[in-house]
Amino acid sequence: MSRIEVRDLEKRYDDAVVLERMSLTVESGSFCALVGASGCGKTTFLKIILGQEQATKGTLTIDGAPIAPEPDPDRGIVFQRYSVFPHLTALQNLILVADFKAAGPFARTFGVRRKEARVDAEALLERVGLAHARNRYPAELSGGMQQRLAIAQTLLGRPKVLLLDEPFGALDPGIRGEMHDLLREIWDETRMTILMVTHDISEAFKLADRILVFDKIRRDPQAPTAYGAHIAHDVPNNPAKPPVAGDLARVARSLGARDNHPHQPEGESP
């Protein structure tokens, strides 16, 4: 169970309003794709769910409990970059998860538990197709391999909610397809709640069962930071089927058309 509820959330940096009047319920086991123009606050929203940033107003609960004000194992994250630890090999990166859990003065597992952690890590490496690269450092892995390692590492943490911030943005289309298959398999198996930010609409329709379009509530050409974004469109989707043409068009329009037809700020007739 991991149902996310957002009520009337607002986030501002000084005078700049990033998110505003944001309300949302994500059912447990849902896979939501977050799309929206660059700079509209998708990463900020993920950071608030993570506990890395605090909301200025409003509430955010997971399974009814307010989220901890700092990152914890309930919420796992895969970033676009810097997602794995560069000073550890692929295998060590995965064993590290057990080490962190063991805590203690050395933050390290020993003996039988270390052997178990190693077996788990090797099995998972096999699973994500990195068994042959177990002793390589991240700098020696391709971008796709690094992201596979990052996803594997995050899964070992057994989060309730998996957050992904443009995880495949830097990968070429072929590798991206492989990553989609991996993510789909993982979701089918674990039924974690997943929130994924992406700029690729076809990726969103291929994977998610719900697409959330971020957009500003209002737009004031004189003061671009005066209004924040909220969820302007909430589009259900069946990832098993080709996207409904109308839905695709709606999302594409809301992303593409904004620059050509800026909304008028309220109280000012066109």
Binding site: F85, A107, Y137, G157
Partner: protein, 273 residues
Amino acid sequence: MRLVNARPGRGSSLALGALPILLVLGAYVYASAQRLSANPDDKLLPSIPQMWRAFLALATEPEKRSGDILLWSDTLASLERLGIGVGAATLSALTLGIAIGFIPRIRATLGPFVAVLSVIPPLAVLPILFIALGLGEASKITLIALGIAPVMIRDIAGRTADIPEELIVKAQTLGASTWAMIIRLVLPQVLPRLLVAVRLQLGPAWLFLIAAEAIASTEGLGYRIFLVRRYMAMDVILPYVVWITLLAVLMDWILARLSISAFPWAHPREAGR
């Protein structure tokens, strides 16, 4: 081809690198020969064989009064001071640097203090050290440590603060405590930088060592140089300078090798696999 794109090969790099050294050496030999032919007793520019004899005497013959072989007793005394001073500075850079760079409350408390410390000219503090700690080893070692530690602390604190926030957030989502992050994430990531900081600060450390030895000491490489200056014994001073240079180069080389072998991930190209 543009100048910026004309890269010398391995052999010509070596030759080009040796060129200025050979030129200076040649100029010295020529000037020395000129002066010595005019006045065989000239002390200013001794010939290379003269220097070699003086150096050999210092390196092999026990001194009459103490029975010590001067070069070795001087080297040992100096390296001991340097080692303890640099070691203490390194240790404080590691602990304080990580604490300041990683823990916001400690940064707020100690950051400005260390920033102020690092702009005090260490040599201006030397008289205070002599008065407070006496003329013995403690004041010399403290000068070295105090002279280089603030810069190293700030360097390590900066490197710690530069660790991508993504990695720190990621570690926390995997359940890491502050301490676990320090020893499994921050420490390994700043160690290579610590070696770089030590290499960079060895130069200033030698400066403070020699300055302290010149003023108050009874042995040490710096002491010897300033002692024989009174007799214009260039045949001792010059080989000592070369000896100090060799020691410094050797230390730098060892630290560089150590970094490559201990932290292969930080040197993806040099380590090669």
